[in-house]
C-alpha cells in the first residue's frame, strides 16, 4: 500500500468516526470539563494542608494567593483558625466533596457519551445492513459481520470513552499538577519535570514493543481454543478413530506453548513494572531529600514540602497510565476500518423517479439470463408470460434455477441481461419496496423471527393498519394456512414465542406460518417457492383450495415437485438446466409425452410399485 492510500484510508476512518460521534461529542467534552474542575478542587487541598501546617499549626508564613489571604483575613486570620481548626477540616471536606461530585459528573457524562456513541453506531450499522443489496449478504459471512457489529464497535467505544478521554484528562491533570508544583516551589519542580518525560517515553516505547508479544499470546490462545473446539465438535470422530491420546498430546503441546508465551510476556511486564516502581520511588525520594535540604536551608517551608509531596503523589497515576494508553490506542484504527467496510458498502438504490405502478398486469420474463458468478450461467434466455390473475406452476430438479427465478422477480439480484415486466413496466424502474410489497413470496427456507406467532405473521403488514384490521387479517390467514389447530395446541395461542428462544416448530408448521405471513399481505402477485413440501398431501390440497377462494384475481406462481400441487395451474412450466423444456396446461403436457408426462407417470404409478 502506498503512503497516499494509507493517508486516505486514515482520513476515511476519521470521517466515519466523526459521523458516529454525532450526538455524543458534547457529553465527552462536558465529562472532561468536569474532570478538570474536579482535579482543580483536589489540587487546592494540598495547598490548604500546607498552609495549615505552616501558618496555623506552625508559626511561619505559609504561601497563599491573595484571594485565599482575603478569605482567611475575613475569618479572623491564622490565629482565629488556630482556635477553630474545624474550619480547615470543613474546607477540606467541602473541597473533597466537590471534587468527588465532579468525578461523579465526569463518570456519568462520559458514560452517557459512550453509550450514545454505541447506540448510534449500532443503529447506523443495523440500518445500513438492512439497506444493503442481497448480493452483499450472500458475499459476506454472518459470523464475521456480527463480529464487526459487536466487538469492533466495543473497541471503538473504548477508544473514545476510555482511552481518548483518559489521555486528555491525564494530560490536563498532569499540566495542572505541575503548575501547582511550580507555584509551590519552582526549583524543586525540576526533579519531576526531568523524570516525567522519561517515564512516559519509556512506557510508550515498552508497550509498543510488547504489543506483538500480546498478539502472539492472543493468536496462540486462539489456536488452543480451536483445538478444544474441534475436539468437542468432532468428539465422535475422535472416539471412532480412537485418537484420544493424539488429541491429548496435541492439546498438551499447545497448552504448554501458550503458557510459556504468557510467562515470557509476564517476565517482561514484571521487569517493566519494577523499573516503573524504581523510577517513581526515586522520584519520591529525590523530592523528599532535596525538599528537606531546602527546608533546612530555609528556602522552603515545611508546609510547602508537605504540599509538594502530595502533588508529587498525584502525578504518579497519570504518568504511569499515559504510556500504556497511548500505545493501546493504535488498535482502534483496525476496528474503525472493519466497521467502515460495512458502512461504506453501497446501498441498494432505487432508480431516480422510481415508479410505483399498479401491479395487476401480466408478469413477463423476457430473455432473462442469470448466473451467481460469471462462469456458471444458471438461467438461459428465459421467456415466460404469466397472464394476470392466472396460476403458473413450475417443475424442475434441484438446482435447475427455480428459486433464482423468484429472486429475480423480487429484484433480490439485479438482472444482467433481459428484462422482467409487470403490466408492461420494467421492474428495474420500480421502487424496490413497492415491488416487494406487491409480490408476496413464501421462501423455500422461511426464517422465523424470535417473537410471538402473532408478531411473526404481522411482520408482513404495513404499519398504518388499524389494530382491528390487523387482527381480522391474521385470523383469516391462519385459517387459509391451516394453522388454527397448531396454534390452539399451544397454551399461549397466538402469543406463543417462536424462534431462537421459543418453541421449536416442525418443518411443516414453519412452512404454514410462512404462508400465513405471506397471505396477510393481500398482494396482487403471490409466489410459493416449494413451500408445501413438508406438508402432507391433504393439508396441501386444503391450503390450495382456501387460497384459490381468497385470491380470485391474484397472479400466482407455484414451485413444487408434487404434480398434484401443480396440475390445476393455468400454465405449467418444466425447467431443465436453466431452460424451459416444456410448458402448457396439464392435459397438453401429458399429450406431449415428454418429461412432465413421465414424472406424472412415475408419481401416479407409485401405488403399483409395491405390488
Amino acid at each position: 500500500m502506498t503512503k497516499r492510500q494509507t493517508k486516505k484510508q486514515n482520513q476515511n476512518s476519521a470521517a466515519v468516526l466523526w459521523r458516529f460521534l454525532r450526538g455524543s461529542k458534547a457529553y465527552f467534552i462536558l465529562g472532561v470539563t468536569f474532570a478538570v474542575i474536579g482535579s482543580l478542587f483536589e489540587l487546592i487541598i494540598p495547598r490548604i494542608t500546607g498552609y495549615t501546617v505552616d501558618s496555623v499549626i506552625g508559626q511561619g508564613d505559609g504561601k497563599i494567593s491573595s484571594f485565599a489571604a482575603n478569605i482567611i483575613n475575613r475569618l479572623g486570620g491564622a490565629e482565629a483558625l488556630r482556635d477553630n481548626l474545624f474550619v480547615v477540616a470543613l474546607a477540606i471536606a467541602t473541597l473533597g466533596l466537590l471534587a468527588a461530585l465532579c468525578k461523579y459528573l465526569f463518570r456519568v457524562s462520559n458514560a452517557k457519551g459512550a453509550e450514545t456513541l454505541v447506540k448510534n453506531m449500532h443503529n447506523m450499522i443495523f440500518a445500513h445492513i438492512q439497506s444493503l443489496p442481497f448480493s452483499w449478504h450472500m458475499k459476506n459471512r454472518t459470523g464475521d459481520i456480527i463480529q464487526r457489529c459487536t466487538s469492533d464497535t466495543n473497541t471503538v467505544k473504548r477508544f473514545v470513552a476510555d482511552q481518548l478521554t483518559t489521555v486528555v484528562r491525564a494530560t490536563i491533570r498532569l499540566g495542572l499538577s505541575l503548575a501547582f508544583m511550580i507555584s509551590t516551589n519552582a526549583k524543586l519542580s525540576i526533579i519531576p519535570i526531568v523524570i516525567i518525560p522519561i517515564i512516559i517515553g519509556y512506557s510508550t516505547y515498552f508497550h509498543n514493543r510488547i504489543a506483538k508479544h500480546f498478539l502472539t499470546c492472543d493468536e496462540n490462545e486462539g489456536i488452543l481454543s480451536n483445538i478444544a473446539q474441534e475436539n468437542l465438535t468432532g468428539v465422535r470422530v475422535v472416539r471412532a478413530f480412537g485418537r484420544e491420546n493424539y488429541e491429548k498430546e496435541k492439546f498438551a503441546t499447545q497448552n504448554k506453548k501458550y503458557t510459556g508465551l504468557w510467562i515470557r510476556l509476564l517476565k517482561f511486564l514484571t521487569a517493566y513494572w519494577a523499573s516503573g516502581d524504581l523510577v517513581t520511588g526515586l522520584l519520591v525520594m529525590l523530592v523528599l531529600v532535596f525538599g528537606t535540604k531546602m527546608c533546612v536551608a530555609g528556602s522552603m517551608t515545611q508546609g510547602d514540602l508537605i504540599a509538594f509531596i502530595s502533588y508529587n503523589a498525584m502525578i504518579i497515576w497519570p504518568v504511569r497510565m499515559l504510556g500504556r494508553v497511548i500505545s493501546e490506542m493504535s488498535k482502534a484504527g483496525v476496528s474503525i476500518k472493519r466497521i467502515a467496510y460495512i458502512i461504506e458498502s453501497k446501498e441498494e438504490k432505487d432508480p431516480e423517479n422510481a415508479l410505483t405502478p399498479a401491479m395487476t398486469g401480466d408478469v413477463k420474463f423476457e430473455k432473462v439470463s442469470f448466473g451467481y458468478d460469471e462462469e456458471h450461467e444458471l438461467l438461459h434466455e428465459i421467456d415466460l408470460t404469466i397472464k394476470s390473475g392466472t396460476t403458473c406452476g413450475i417443475l424442475g430438479t434441484t438446482g435447475s434455477g427455480k428459486s433464482t427465478l423468484v429472486h429475480l422477480l423480487d429484484r433480490l439480484y439485479p438482472l444482467p441481461s433481459g428484462r422482467i415486466t409487470v403490466g408492461g413496466m420494467d421492474i428495474a424502474e420500480m421502487k424496490a419496496s413497492h415491488l416487494r410489497k406487491n409480490i408476496a413470496v413464501v421462501l423455500q427456507e422461511p426464517f422465523l423471527f424470535s417473537g410471538t406467532i402473532k408478531e411473526n405473521i404481522a411482520m408482513g403488514l404495513p404499519d398504518y393498519l388499524a389494530e382491528k384490521e390487523v387482527d381480522r387479517r391474521i385470523e383469516e390467514a391462519i385459517d387459509i394456512a391451516c394453522l388454527r389447530e397448531t396454534i390452539e395446541s399451544f397454551d399461549k395461542g397466538l402469543e406463543t414465542f417462536v424462534g431462537e428462544r421459543g418453541v421449536t416448530l416442525s418443518g411443516g408448521q414453519k412452512q404454514r406460518l410462512a404462508i400465513a405471513r405471506t397471505v396477510v399481505q393481500n398482494a396482487p402477485i403471490m409466489v410459493f417457492d416449494d413451500s408445501l413440501s413438508a406438508v402432507d398431501t391433504e393439508t396441501d390440497a386444503k391450503i390450495r383450495n382456501a387460497l384459490l377462494k381468497k385470491m380470485k384475481g391474484t397472479t400466482s406462481i407455484i414451485i413444487s415437485h408434487r404434480i398434484t400441487t401443480l396440475m390445476h395451474a393455468d400454465q405449467i412450466v418444466v425447467l431443465d438446466h436453466g431452460r424451459i423444456a416444456e410448458s402448457g396446461k396439464h392435459e397438453e403436457l401429458l399429450k406431449q409425452n415428454g418429461l412432465y408426462a413421465r414424472i406424472y407417470a412415475i408419481q401416479s404409478m407409485k401405488e403399483g410399485e409395491d405390488a
Binding site: 494542608t49 463518570r107 443503529n123 456480527i146 459487536t150 465422535r236 535540604k293 413470496v441 418429461l595 407409485k606
Partner: protein, 611 residues
C-alpha cells in the same frame, strides 16, 4: 441448548479445598509469593516514616547531619521493596499460568474419557467454556486475588499498628472510617453485580438482533419489513443505553463515595491532629505521616472487598470445573480389560485380537442415561460380517441409537452386545473404535492439511494409500486441482472446503483407516446428485467384506441394503428388505411415498438423459 438453571450446591470455603490437589505442586511458590507480598506491603508502610523522620529530625532541628545515611537507607529499603515486589508478582503470574494450564489439561483429558451422554446433555459451547474460561478465572483467583488480599490486608494491619504506636487517638479516627467504608463497598458491589448482569443480557440481545437482521435478510427484504426490524432494533439499543448508563451512574456513585471517604479522613486527621499538635502532643512530621495513611488506607479497603467478591464470583467456576472432573463415564473398561488391552491413552496394541466383523444384539434393552423412555426393548439382531444394515426414519426420530450401541458410545441397559461372538465388554473401547470407520452427516475436519486429516484414522498411511482412498470416493481430481495437493490447508473446521468436498474427504479418511465396521451417518446428504451417484457406486465396492451401518434420510440410497431398520419416535418399528417393507404398507411405505415426488422428478429427468 437452553440455558439450564445451574444448581449452586455451594461448596464449603468457596470451593477452594477442591483446588488443593492442583495447588499442592506449587506450594513453595505460593508461600514465597505470600511472604514477598507481605514484605513489599510492609515497606509501603515504612516509607512514609522516612518522611516523618526527615521533617522531625532534619527540618525541625535544622540540620543535615546524617542525610547521607538517610539516603542510603531509603535506597536500600526501596531496593528491597522492588525485589520483593518482582518476586511476588512474578510468582503470582507463574502460579496463575501454571494452575490455568494444569486445570485446562485436566479438563481436556477428562473429557476424552467421558461417554456420549455427557456430550448430548451439554452443548459444545458450554463444555468449551469450562475448559477455556472457567479455568482462567480460577487461576487468576488463586494467584492475584490472594495476592491482593495479602498485600492490602497487611498494609491495613501494618498501618494500623504504626498509627496506634504513634498516636492512638488519631489512629482510631482514621480506622473508624474503614469498617463504614467496607460495608458501603460491599453494598455497592452486590448491586453492581446485578446491574452488570443486566448490561450483559441487554448486550446479548443486541447481538441476537444483529444475527436476525443478517441471517434473516432475505426474508426481511421479501416482506419489506426493514422499517419494522429497524424500529425493533432501535428499541433494543435504547434499552441497552438505559441499562448501561444506569449501571455507570451507580458505579460513579461508588467511586465518589470512596474518594470522598478518603478526603473526610484527611479532614478529620488535620482537625484533630492539628489540635493535638498545637498542644504539643504530636510532632509535625508525625502529623504528615497520618495524612499519608488517611489518604492511602482507603484504596486497600476497596481492593480487599473486590478480592472477596471475586472469591464469591469464582466459586461458580470452581464448582463447574470440579463437577466436570468428577463426572464419571457411562462406559468404563473394567480393570482386567485395561490390564490386557490398555486404556484410552496408552493402548497395548500387541495384545489386540483382530476384529472379524460379526455383530450380535442379544435381548438388548436400552434407555438413554438422561432419558425416561426405553428406546430398545428386548432387541435381538444378528449381523454377520459383511452385512449392510440401513437405518431410516424422519429427522429426529432417533436413528443414531443403534449406531451408538454398535460403537459402544453407550452400553445396553440390559442384555448383551457381542462382537465376534464375545461380549463387547471383554475388549477395550479403543480396540473397537480403532476398527470402526465413521462418516458423519455434518462432516467434521480438523484444521490442518488434507493429508493430516486423511491420516487421522491411520497415522502411518503412505501417499499411495491416500490417493487410493481419494480415488475410491472420486475425490482424486478435487485434491489434485488444489494448489498444494495433499498439503493444502482445509481451514478452521474445514471451512475452506464446500460441504460436499468436506464430505468426500471425511469419506476418504474413513476408508483409509480400513475399518472392519463402517458407519455412514447420512453420509451423502450434502453432495449434489451427480456426486452422490459417484459415491454410491464407490461405496458398493468399499462396503464389500465390511459390516456397514448406513443411517439415511434419502431412501433411494439404501434400497439395496441387506436389512433395513425403520425408526419412529426413537423405537425400531419395522425391519426387513426394501421389498418386504413396502409390502407391509406401514411406516416405511409412508416415508417412501413422501419422498417419492421429489425423487420422481429427478428420476424423470435422468431417465430422459439416459435415452
Amino acid at each position: 441448548m437452553k440455558a439450564k438453571k445451574e444448581k449452586t450446591a455451594s461448596l464449603p470455603f468457596f470451593g477452594i479445598p477442591k483446588l488443593f490437589p492442583f495447588l499442592k505442586k506449587y506450594a513453595s511458590a505460593f508461600i514465597l509469593m505470600l511472604l514477598m507480598g507481605a514484605l513489599g506491603s510492609a515497606i509501603d508502610i515504612i516509607l512514609p516514616l522516612f518522611q516523618r523522620y526527615a521533617i522531625n529530625n532534619f527540618i525541625a532541628k535544622e540540620t543535615l547531619v546524617g542525610l547521607g545515611w538517610f539516603v542510603v537507607l531509603y535506597c536500600l529499603t526501596l531496593g528491597v521493596q522492588i525485589v520483593a515486589n518482582v518476586i511476588a508478582t512474578f510468582r503470582a503470574s507463574c502460579i496463575e499460568m501454571w494452575i490455568d494450564r494444569d486445570l485446562r489439561s485436566a479438563c481436556f483429558n477428562h473429557l476424552q474419557t467421558l461417554s456420549f451422554s455427557y456430550f448430548n446433555q451439554n452443548s459444545v459451547g458450554y463444555i468449551h467454556s469450562r475448559v477455556m474460561s472457567d479455568t482462567g478465572n480460577i487461576g487468576a483467583l488463586v494467584s492475584w486475588s490472594f495476592m491482593d488480599c495479602i498485600w492490602h490486608l497487611s498494609y491495613i494491619i501494618g498501618a494500623a499498628v504504626v498509627m496506634f504506636s504513634l498516636n492512638a487517638r488519631l489512629a482510631i479516627i482514621v480506622l473508624a472510617v474503614v469498617p463504614l467504608l467496607a460495608i458501603a463497598i460491599a453494598f455497592f458491589q452486590k448491586k453492581l453485580t446485578n446491574l452488570n448482569r443486566e448490561v450483559r443480557e441487554a448486550n446479548s440481545r443486541i447481538t441476537g438482533n444483529f444475527n436476525e437482521g443478517i441471517v434473516g435478510a432475505k426474508t426481511i427484504k421479501t416482506l419489506v419489513a426493514e422499517e419494522k426490524v429497524k424500529r425493533h432494533f432501535g428499541e433494543e439499543s435504547q434499552r441497552m443505553y438505559k441499562v448501561s448508563v444506569g449501571a455507570s451512574r451507580f458505579r460513579g456513585l461508588f467511586w465518589t463515595v470512596i474518594s470522598f471517604a478518603s478526603y473526610l479522613a484527611l479532614a478529620l486527621v488535620l482537625w484533630q491532629g492539628g489540635v493535638i499538635t498545637l498542644d504539643g502532643v504530636l510532632e509535625l512530621g508525625t502529623l504528615s505521616v497520618f495524612i499519608t495513611y488517611a489518604v492511602g488506607i482507603m484504596e486497600p479497603v476497596l481492593w480487599i472487598v473486590d478480592a472477596i467478591s471475586e472469591l464469591i464470583a469464582t466459586r461458580v467456576n470452581i464448582e463447574r470445573v470440579s463437577k466436570l472432573l468428577e463426572t464419571k463415564s457411562d462406559v468404563v473398561d473394567s480393570e482386567e480389560v485395561i490390564e490386557k488391552y490398555g486404556d484410552n491413552f496408552s493402548p497395548k496394541r500387541e495384545n489386540w485380537e483382530e476384529l472379524h466383523g460379526d455383530i450380535e444384539f442379544r435381548d438388548v434393552s436400552f434407555q438413554y442415561p438422561d432419558g425416561t423412555e426405553t428406546v430398545l426393548e428386548h432387541f435381538n439382531l444378528k449381523i454377520p460380517k459383511g452385512t449392510n444394515v440401513a437405518i431410516v426414519g424422519e429427522t429426529g426420530a432417533g436413528k443414531s441409537t443403534l449406531v451408538n450401541l454398535v460403537c459402544r458410545f453407550y452400553e445396553p441397559t440390559t442384555g448383551e452386545y457381542l462382537i465376534d461372538g464375545r461380549p463387547a465388554k471383554e475388549r477395550s473401547q479403543l480396540w473397537l473404535h480403532s476398527n470402526i470407520g465413521y462418516v458423519l452427516q455434518t462432516p467434521h475436519l480438523f484444521s490442518g492439511t488434507i493429508e493430516e486429516n486423511l491420516k487421522y484414522g491411520r497415522p502411518d498411511a503412505t501417499e499411495e494409500q491416500m490417493w487410493e482412498a481419494l480415488r475410491c470416493v472420486s475425490a482424486e481430481d478435487l485434491v489434485k486441482k488444489m494448489e498444494n495437493g495433499l498439503g493444502s490447508e482445509v481451514g478452521e473446521g474445514g471451512d475452506l472446503l464446500s460441504t460436499g468436498e468436506k464430505q468426500l474427504i471425511s469419506f476418504a479418511r474413513a476408508i483409509l483407516a480400513d475399518p472392519k465396521i463402517l458407519v455412514l451417518d447420512e453420509a451423502t446428504s450434502s453432495v449434489d446428485t451427480m456426486t452422490e451417484q459417484i459415491i454410491q457406486n464407490a461405496m458398493k465396492e468399499v462396503i464389500k467384506g465390511r459390516t456397514a451401518f448406513t443411517i439415511a434420510h434419502r431412501l433411494s440410497t439404501i434400497r439395496d441394503a441387506d436389512i433395513i431398520l425403520v425408526v419412529q419416535d426413537g423405537k425400531i418399528v419395522e425391519r426387513g428388505t426394501h421389498k418386504e417393507l413396502l409390502a407391509l404398507r406401514g411406516a416405511y411405505y409412508r416415508l417412501y411415498m413422501r419422498q417419492y415426488e421429489e425423487e420422481s422428478v429427478e428420476k424423470g429427468f435422468s431417465q430422459r438423459e439416459a435415452q
